[in-house]
């Protein structure tokens, strides 16, 4: 029996379904419950999907529409549902990858293993737990590839059977492929680069398509129909709140070009030719991270085998792969790894094919010594389970976002604390949606002015000044302008103002900072806070020394706290000797937040007020209790840690808190 003559069997859709269910189960276990800083764009994408608005360049219309459909699923809040779209379409990618592989190899063993191996690889898995475009894009890409590969197979079968009817299954596959490809651009515009690969493959399979107007024009029409989704951009251009995006608003032809094909020109082909070796090594490094050396070698073997045995498919996949590599090795971006997911997906197909051929060689070699094929299959399956299990175990912890509730916990408390008619300033544009999500999706605190969330020019500095009180989640002033183009515009907050911390959320939870930022709510005041006092009378006196600081004592407003609620903590410090250490608060050795002593105000305070050398620094603020805390008694700790990294932490137990259920996730907060 040859590879080509074997068709699908009933077991293949069943296996694909099982793979889908298993991947979805694991992805659901590691899913982010709501908003997250894991993706720079995820909070915006979730909000825009709910609003049916316009996302940042390149617009992502299909993502927006599909995301909207997922927001109707009655589980969790809106952000959770859009995160769930990544999990679902990620699982769909794995299932479709199996279908492609089994079409190419007819080896269920190699196909199942490779699909799961890719599904639980480091980078792809990381994108299935957050609202981002990469897992959905991988789904559209595998769907497009699957339809194309099935078309080629049917085309050959129909040609061999001499079918001449105008309506054939192959035509349906071809039209579906064309539509899927057009639609996929609404997930990621870079898919356009696959056109040469698709054209070469189609011509290699059946060049007569050039003289079949029905197929050719039908395919082109459906591709254009898929591309027509980008009419969404001018239709929604007026809804943009992101100043850098609004500068290229897609409401003219030039604007539409700048927003889509012409977007991010500074990132594309950003490296000179002499930097090519370095860029290739960077890619190899990412490939090694995801697949390991054995799978890389298997992939190379698969490429050679496919070249001789499935030449057309080799050219399809290799052209896609090379084009993708040329484009993204020259792409200058902070989080480069996710952009290579399509390349990893294609490489996984080579790995699968290599594995299939390797096992075939093994079978034929061992058949001479009459080892039963079933026993061999069982042995190979057992051998393959081991690396897969190791991969899942290693990557689970890295990609488990299920306890990432910091943003929601923080803003739940922020919106409870803000006085009537106040204003709050934060980051703008794409990165401001951790805050905008709440008014845009749940209409929370409509009385609060959020100038960065308002449509262009609708919130002026005068309006902010008229607010009952002004708050900020970002520090502004000398040395603090690190937020890039999304920092609050000058004039909203006077550089002379004092930013007094009133609430600290969970931040810097992991050892590695990444994009995670401190979640602190500051009250903007004209007068300086009482940051340093000559004498203090804390309720609980301590006297312990931590690095260069002496913990004089503390006050705590409660010994009972709701999950996701807050406690008011006042800590009195004496600076014994100069120290760069950060102050840390923790629960049961899990760090809640880290901050500079005085939350960035101490240096200015000392310069302006010249307090005595042995004076006491007072930090008075509310501390957010994570909604993932266990019920019952927990120990609140305070301490110091090394600057930047949070390593070398010294902690002291402060008080025992009784944690009770708060459950704001299911309360009227998200009505």
């Amino acid at each position: 029996m040859t590879e080509e003559s074997t068709g699908w069997r009933w077991v293949d859709p069943l296996l694909a379904l099982l793979i889908f269910a298993f991947a979805l189960l694991v992805y659901s276990l590691t899913l982010t419950p709501s908003l997250s800083f894991e993706s720079p764009d995820g909070n915006e994408l979730a909000t825009v999907a709910y609003q049916l608005g316009l996302a940042h360049s390149t617009g992502y219309p299909l993502y927006t529409w599909l995301g909207k459909l997922f927001t109707f699923i009655p589980v969790g809040d809106v952000a959770h549902r859009v995160n769930f779209m990544s999990a679902t379409l990620g699982a769909g990618t794995v299932a479709l990858l199996y279908c492609i592989l089994v079409t190419l190899t007819r080896s269920r063993l190699a196909s199942v293993f490779t699909a799961l191996f890719f599904g639980f690889s480091l980078t792809f898995w990381s994108q299935t737990g957050i609202a981002e475009v990469y897992a959905p894009n991988a789904f559209m890409l595998t769907l497009t590839l699957f339809l194309l590969v099935r078309w080629a197979k049917r085309e050959k079968e129909e040609e061999a059977a001499g079918q001449r009817r105008w309506l054939r299954v192959s035509l349906v596959y071809f039209l579906a492929f064309s539509l899927a490809f057009g639609l996929s651009l609404g997930m990621h515009m870079s898919n356009l680069g696959f056109i040469p690969a698709f054209v070469i493959f189609i011509l290699l399979v059946n060049w007569r398509i050039l003289i079949e107007p029905l197929k050719l024009l039908g395919g082109a029409a459906l591709f254009l129909l898929g591309c027509a989704q980008f009419l969404w951009l001018p239709y929604k251009a007026a809804t943009l709140v992101d100043a850098p995006m609004a500068r290229n608003a897609p409401n003219t032809l030039r604007g539409l070009y700048n927003y889509t094909l012409g977007a991010f020109p500074q990132m594309k082909f950003a490296f000179p030719l002499w930097a090519l070796p370095d860029r290739v090594v960077v890619y190899l490094y990412l490939l090694w991270q995801n697949f390991g050396i054995l799978a890389i070698l298997l992939g190379i073997f698969g490429m050679w085998e496919m070249l001789f045995r499935r030449t057309r498919h080799f050219f399809l996949l290799m052209t896609m792969y090379v084009v993708h590599l040329i484009f993204f090795t020259q792409y200058r971006v902070f989080d480069l790894d996710v952009f290579f997911i399509p390349a990893h997906l294609i490489y996984a197909i080579f790995v699968g094919y290599g594995l299939f051929r390797f096992v075939e060689y093994l079978y034929s070699g061992l058949s001479r010594i009459r080892v039963p094929r079933l026993a061999l299959s069982a042995a190979v399956a057992l051998l393959l389970v081991l690396p897969l299990a190791r991969e899942v175990r290693a990557n689970y912890a890295v990609n488990d976002y299920s306890d990432d509730v910091a943003i929601n916990d923080f803003y739940h408390n922020v919106f409870q604390m803000l006085p009537e008619g106040s204003a709050i300033v934060g980051r703008g544009g794409v990165f401001g949606y951790d805050m905008f999500y709440f008014p845009y999706v749940y209409d929370i605190r409509p009385d609060v002015l959020m100038p960065m969330a308002e449509l262009r020019d609708r919130a002026s500095p005068e309006m902010v000044r008229e607010a009952a009180a002004l708050y900020s989640t970002v520090r502004v002033g000398p040395g603090e302008q690190r937020a890039g183009p999304w920092a609050p515009p000058p004039g909203l907050i006077s550089p002379e103002s004092w930013l007094v911390p009133v609430l600290a959320g969970q931040g810097g939870q992991s050892s590695f900072g990444g994009m995670r930022q401190n979640l602190v709510l500051y009250e903007v005041r004209d007068e300086a806070p009482q940051l340093v006092v000559s004498e203090a009378d804390p309720t609980h006196e301590m006297g312990a020394k931590l690095d260069g600081l002496q913990l004089v004592g503390y006050d705590l407003d409660a010994d009972r706290v709701e999950r996701g609620g807050r406690v008011q903590l006042t800590v009195y410090w004496r600076v014994v000797e100069g120290s760069s250490q950060l102050v840390v608060t923790a629960i049961e050795d899990t760090v809640l937040e880290r901050h500079e002593l005085g939350f960035g105000n101490l240096r200015r305070y000392v310069e302006e007020f010249r307090p005595d050398g042995d004076a006491i620094v007072v930090e008075d603020y509310y501390l957010v209790m994570p909604s993932t805390l266990p019920l019952g008694e927990v120990t609140l700790q305070v301490g110091t840690t090394s600057p930047f990294t949070g390593w070398g932490t010294e902690m002291i137990d402060l008080a025992t808190l009784k944690v009770v259920d708060g459950g704001y996730f299911s309360s009227s907060f998200y009505r």
Binding site: L276, T311, V398, F512, P643, T645, W647
Partner: protein
């Protein structure tokens, strides 16, 4: 017709083999250039979690007053995974992150002592202070602080 088809397949296989060979050569050449510039084993033992060699002092945590450090929190903290001419790949818990490093970037250790870009090695832990420029998707390092590795 069948002969034409056979010839086409041969041409395709030849072209494909040439393409594969070119890719392999490019990969080997790039690896060779990289290793030639930066060495094969420099820093890689730390990368694989090996203990310091006998007699080698592990980096100590910072002590005493620290002056002349950048204000605020770093944009990124992690382990140097790969060093390229254009910047650093920093291994973070969120995945590898590319940081653009220009010639005017300042490098120092956690005590404020000045270092140079050449002192950066694979496996070293660094805190990056810098700005997300332009579109906000590129981190350009202003100051790179070499920090002690995490304590077990």
């Amino acid at each position: 017709m069948a002969a034409d088809k056979g010839s086409l397949v041969k041409v395709l296989i030849g072209a494909g083999a040439a393409l594969l060979m070119a890719l392999m050569l490019l990969a080997c050449f790039s690896l060779g250039v990289y290793v030639g510039h930066r060495g094969l084993l420099v820093g890689t033992v730390e990368n694989f979690g090996a203990r310091p060699a006998a007699g080698q002092q592990p980096p100590q945590p910072p002590t005493g007053p620290v002056e002349d450090l950048p204000p605020g929190r770093p944009a990124l903290v992690g382990r140097v995974g790969a060093i390229t001419n254009e910047g650093l790949f920093i291994q973070t818990q969120q995945g590898p992150r590319l940081v653009q490093v220009d010639d005017d970037a300042k490098v120092q250790d956690h005590r404020g002592q000045e270092l140079s870009l050449k002192d950066l090695r694979q496996g070293v832990y660094v805190a990056i202070f810098g700005e997300f420029t332009g579109d906000g998707r590129r981190l350009v390092a202003e100051t790179i602080v070499v920090v002690p590795p995490p304590q077990p």
